[in-house]
């Protein structure tokens, strides 16, 4: 084996081993140049404002909704702190975005998701404050809307509930990671090949852990939803009321 062959293998090995999936979902503090950090904050803010308005309206009708959302937010945080085994042997965590969106609706989830991200940066040092806008966009805006669209679409074309949940949750997880890769590619276009080449690079690094993870998250969400449908009809009804008022707004 000559030298020119050894090194790339060393690098590839690094690529395979280094990414800790727990961080792959979130862009860390200071990683985005100022203009991109601001840009993603601006893109995310309208969703948060609409989400907060929705929540305020819900609370005016039922004051205990605030408690429900607070508890649900804590639930979402803990969800993202659960370690699940992934195929690569390392541990990762579900985003909970798909499940959360099906339960609480996309706008509410964008607020809850953003608060969860804030806590991840302040309590766990995952992600960061300047990159919170970008992370919130990928996980708390894009993810929920992908989940919502896929879930409604899948039900419309007549897929079973189980399959719709699976698709919504796994695509939301996958979508979150694709968006993160796009965000990184936009900020750091490749010297050769520009944004697209850069996207391919980022996407393929994170794909190793994220694709199996997305499938696992889909399966998990299906399990949980089936469990809830079977044993917790009343609670789900309460939430559905919540969703409907939200759609009507």
């Amino acid at each position: 084996m000559n030298i020119s062959f050894k090194k790339p293998i060393y690098f590839l090995a690094l690529l395979l081993l280094v990414p800790k999936p727990a961080f792959a979902m979130h862009i860390m503090e200071g990683f985005l140049p100022a203009e991109w950090a601001v840009f993603w904050w601006l893109v995310t803010l309208p969703f948060l404002i609409i989400g907060l308005k929705n929540i305020s309206n819900l609370i005016k009708v039922h004051s205990e909704t605030k408690l429900l959302l607070g508890l649900s937010g804590a639930f979402a945080f803990v969800l993202s702190a659960l370690k699940i085994p992934s195929v690569t042997g390392s541990c990762s965590h579900p985003t909970g975005v798909g499940l959360g969106t099906i339960l609480f609706g996309p706008f509410v989830m964008s607020v809850l998701g953003s608060i969860v991200l804030l806590f991840q940066s302040l309590l766990l040092a995952h992600g960061g404050l300047t990159t919170l806008g970008a992370n919130a966009f990928s996980m708390a805006v894009a993810g929920p809307f992908i989940a919502y669209g896929v879930f409604k679409g899948a039900q419309k074309i007549g897929l079973t509930f189980t399959f719709a949940v699976f698709l919504a949750a796994s695509l939301a997880d996958l979508g979150t990671y694709v968006i993160t890769s796009i965000q990184l590619a936009l900020a750091f276009p490749s010297e050769v090949g520009g944004i697209f080449a850069s996207f391919v690079k980022f996407a393929s690094v994170f794909a190793i852990t994220q694709i199996p993870l997305a499938i696992v998250e889909g399966l998990l969400s299906v399990m949980v939803m089936n469990f809830l449908v079977k044993y917790n009809v009343n609670e789900l009804k309460l939430l559905q009321v919540l969703n409907k008022t939200q759609e009507a707004k």
Partner: protein, 260 residues
């Protein structure tokens, strides 16, 4: 997680107004990503680490451990930026290697970019760590209240913060109970058992809500509104200190930073 909180609650800087600490963390952080300068970043890193360790009384060993956490993500991302993958060799590459049909190369510009990114990021993290290790979430909340963040958002943040630990504890006990009954032997068993944990936690959301609603209503009539009964005063000398440090960083950037 509890370790970070533990240091924040026992920090000697805890009783400094959170706005002052937030500003003290944010100004260098913003300057850092604005300037994108290796030397300036290293300068900021130095200031932040020294202040956090000396004034914040964080053991060096702990700080070092904390720094290592994000480094793995940082390394992988920086490597992605460093390497170019093409089908044919590139001109001006300072390192090149061919695996099958793919040419992996490192360009000179990439090295500089990667180095800058690494130092800017690491230095930004030191700013975040200053905030995390000296300021409790409850004080951040107090800061947000001073900044006139909408009350609904404050309420939600406060509630979520309070109940995170309740849910973490239950998920931990359920996990132990499952392990005691052999529920985590294989990947499939583990995934199933985690599904059960998530379901149980969700059921808990509703269970707790009933009790919480009673508890809240027993002490108020308008539903939950976060009460933050903290009293901390601003200090002029600290604001001057923050300004001085900021000016120092800017001055450094336009002299030493540019020269380097």
């Amino acid at each position: 997680m509890r370790m970070l909180e533990f240091y924040a609650y026992h920090s000697p800087l805890r009783n400094i107004h959170p706005i002052e600490k937030i500003v003290f963390a944010l100004i260098p952080l913003i300057l850092n990503i604005l300037f994108q300068n290796i030397y300036t970043s290293l300068f900021i890193f130095f200031i932040m680490v020294v202040i956090t360790i000396i004034f914040g009384k964080i053991p060096v060993r702990i700080y070092w451990k904390l720094l290592l956490i994000p480094v793995t993500f940082l390394l992988s991302s920086v490597l992605v930026i460093l390497l170019s993958f093409t089908e044919s060799p590139l001109e001006g590459a300072i390192f090149q290697s061919i695996i099958g049909p793919v040419v992996i190369s490192i360009m000179k510009e990439s090295i500089e970019k990667a180095l800058t990114l690494f130092s800017v990021s690491l230095s930004s993290i030191s700013c975040l760590y200053f905030l995390i290790l000296t300021t409790t979430i409850q004080d951040v909340l107090f800061g947000l209240q001073c900044l006139k963040v909408p009350q609904v958002l404050l309420d939600l943040i406060a509630l979520i913060y309070r109940f995170i630990f309740l849910f973490l504890d239950s998920s931990r006990t359920i996990f132990l109970a499952q392990k005691a009954r052999l529920g985590h032997g294989s990947s499939i068993k583990t995934i199933k058992s985690i599904g059960l944990i998530i379901s149980a936690l969700f059921v808990k959301v509703f269970h707790e809500m009933k009790d919480l609603n009673n508890a809240v209503n027993a002490r108020s009539l308008n539903g939950y509104i976060a009460v933050i009964a903290r009293t901390i005063r601003f200090s002029r000398s600290r604001w001057i200190f923050i300004m001085l440090i900021s000016i120092l960083i800017i001055a450094f950037n336009f002299t030493v930073g540019r020269a380097g």
